[in-house]
Subunit: 440 residues, 2 copies
């Protein structure tokens, strides 16, 4: 439990020879590789060699083929701290403007999602705000949130549209997702979520809006290279299974994978739709039943659980974790960062909530933000575990056991983030100036 | 919602004349004074003048008696951000070593407090660890946590002993509490909590241990000037009302105020004991009944609610907030920072939990960490509100409405902390280095 200042990331040596095998080498790391076999895939006195942005060696330090300084141009000592795969936040609505305070205060007074909508809040309030906002302002506010995610260990993030619903705002927010991936050192997966809510222009013409998404917005986003996946809200308050099927057919025709907000408020058959398309994930799932879970298991669809929304909306029904486990459906967690139901940029708090609210183990909670999170984005071949050949996206933490990441409440113990082999972030302890009247 | 980098704390000017009235002046602040009358005591375009560590002027900017640069040696522009009183964290066990991971994992598997104790964890496990630890290590680990509290807006913190139970460790931890108050820019109130748990040496001789506390430890702590208040755990698993009465009589004889962990697991008559001594606060209170609430109201005893422990222990019973309100008992919140049941240094997350779990309003949640928190430490004359004559302990936040502090999950929007008139902390946005293989 020593601080970064005295036990952190120190480049021990630059190898004299330019012929060193690896770009960098981390030693004395408690590696939570998150591969199968042992709890957390732990290598207690581990080392990782990185070259050309990839993991090229890992194992126990005693198995290193030569002295560290002979192996790499830079050697970093992790001082027995825990190193994990860079976190993967597989469900966010992080591109938005403004705050959800009025919604929160309605919920705090015992109101519901319907009360929020009646007061002009919720997703529609957000959409009206986002349509009016300057793109530069949307980007600036969003960039701050994404920066906090990176400083919390996230190296890959999904970012959904759906805060505008109309053509221009949807394209604008997807452009901002791409822009954030260029400007900040993380990988951004952009998801088109025009079917997030019912656009006011199409209130009584949902089928027309589905056609508008399928024939106008999605092709325009494809032409600009703005979209990696398609998502929707399939519920009595949103789109029917038939409407989602139509949109997913359009997505599939473009070669895009699909995912779905499913069974958050009732068992509506949404998870079956996404499973039928062999979708990446079905998300929320408080009300999912066993047949849909079986369909997900067969389709290889991940269950992405979102404790932040369960918490903020005051939902008392929890997703059926025991059933998901029994059928072998992998469980991801995500921040679901959005102003209305999950105003957070804290993966570790979501892990804590996953344990306390949903009954996950600390190991499941960390897997949910690494290995399974990557699978929920279709990136399991390159990310989500510490394995040879994978992208060198890593996070170093001020803890000595990986389970501690989920055990504390609202702390951020991230010490450093490595993206594609490069240390792109180092935390600093807060420093204080003397208070001349401190004990006044 | 602009960042600190572009909208933060900028010293506008140094007055040419050394005859300026005030040491410093904050302008363009949304002042949440937390005084009565209006919600949050808000002054929307507020200014605060500070001199000799005290607040000497506050009001609407249009009422300033002269141009800002003529009034103070330094003028700070708050750029319409919210400024609150410095937070008061009135219940912490922040001086400890190690972590509570094994306890958390027992709880996560559905275990109880009794299971933790049976496994050698809980408070007794902590006591055994703390007794063996070097004081320097206890201080170093605790200092990191306190630094995080300061960086989260806390200017006054209570720190309890009770992690050692024996004479030497109790004195050591109280010395560390004092030391932290000297080394870090916050006010530390030191509480003797020898009656935290049953010391193993006295397992079958509780009355003897009470005498030991009253006749040996407390006088020794008084001689060294280490103690400001006395606390205990009054429960079937702890000390009886009669035993607490004996200890409180000793405290009162030393002129010390008292407080009590009360009705956390059952209605045990503990709050009545503390009310009889006109104690500062009764803390936890999940199982308190109306007669005890009435006694607290008459005694002026604060109800300190601790959502972190309610959360981590998986307690489903909530404290009776509506009854506390009806009887006019002021409600404080605190982090209860400890490794077992509330491993957190996040006041804003406790505000969020206070709203979502206990039904507090956002205004009650902020009052609970300012005005009422100060009252729970007997410091209401000098702290807890922004008022003329009070100590200039203030916090500046990256929000535009004070309710936002409670609405987000696990974010820390603190921009700056002012202690006794001096800016002792400024947050910085995380900065990143370029990832050469970021999109690999």
């Amino acid at each position: 439990m020593q601080g970064w200042g005295d036990a952190g990331l120190t480049a021990l040596a630059a190898a004299a020879s330019l012929g060193a095998m690896w770009d960098s080498l981390w030693i004395n790391a408690r590696l939570a590789t998150m591969t199968a076999g042992t709890p957390f895939g732990l290598i207690d006195r581990g080392a990782v060699g990185l070259s050309a942005g990839r993991i090229v060696w890992l194992g126990d330090m005693v198995a290193l083929p030569a002295a560290p300084v002979a192996l790499a141009r830079v050697v970093h000592d992790a001082h027995s701290k825990v190193m994990t795969p860079g976190l993967v936040d597989c469900h966010t609505h992080i591109v938005y403007v403004g705050d959800g305070l009025s919604d929160f205060e309605i919920l705090t007074r015992g109101g519901t999602r319907a009360d929020m909508l009646a007061a002009g809040g919720g997703i529609l309030g957000l959409a009206m705000r986002t349509r009016r906002a300057e793109p530069e302002r949307i980007a600036a506010e969003s960039r701050k949130r994404v920066a906090r995610l990176v400083a919390a260990g996230v190296t890959t993030m999904e970012s959904k549209s759906g805060a505008g619903l109309d053509l221009e705002t949807e394209l604008t927010t997807m452009r901002i997702s791409r822009q954030l991936g260029r400007e900040l050192p993380l990988t951004v997966v952009s998801t088109y979520l025009g079917a997030h809510a019912i656009a006011p222009e199409y209130r009584d013409r949902l089928d027309d809006y589905v056609e508008f998404m399928a024939r106008t917005v999605l092709p325009a986003a494809m032409r600009e290279g703005l979209v990696d996946a398609v998502d929707g809200f399939c519920d009595a308050w949103g789109y029917s299974p038939q409407q989602m099927t139509r949109l997913f057919e359009a997505a599939t025709a473009h070669g895009l994978p699909v995912k779905l907000h499913a069974e958050q408020y009732r068992d509506f058959g949404a998870a079956e739709v996404v499973a039928r398309f062999r979708g990446l994930s079905a998300d929320h799932l408080e009300y999912i039943g066993e047949p849909a879970i079986r369909a997900m298991a067969e389709a290889g669809t991940v269950a992405t659980l979102l404790p932040g929304a369960n918490w903020t909306l005051g939902e008392t029904k929890r997703p059926p974790v025991a059933l998901l486990r029994r059928h072998g459906v992998p469980i991801a967690l995500a921040t679901n960062c959005n102003p209305v139901s999950s105003p957070t940029t804290s993966p570790t708090m979501m892990m804590n909530m996953g344990c306390r609210m949903f009954g996950l183990t600390t190991e499941e909670a960390l897997a949910a933000f690494t290995r399974v999170g990557a699978q929920a984005l279709g990136l399991q071949a390159s990310r989500g575990t510490i394995e040879i050949g994978k992208v060198a996206d890593l996070a170093l933490w001020d803890v000595e056991k990986p389970g501690e990441l989920a055990a504390s409440i609202a702390d951020n113990p991230c010490l450093a983030v490595i993206k594609g082999g490069t240390v792109i972030y180092r935390a600093s302890e807060p420093s204080f100036e003397a208070a001349t009247h401190g004990q006044a």
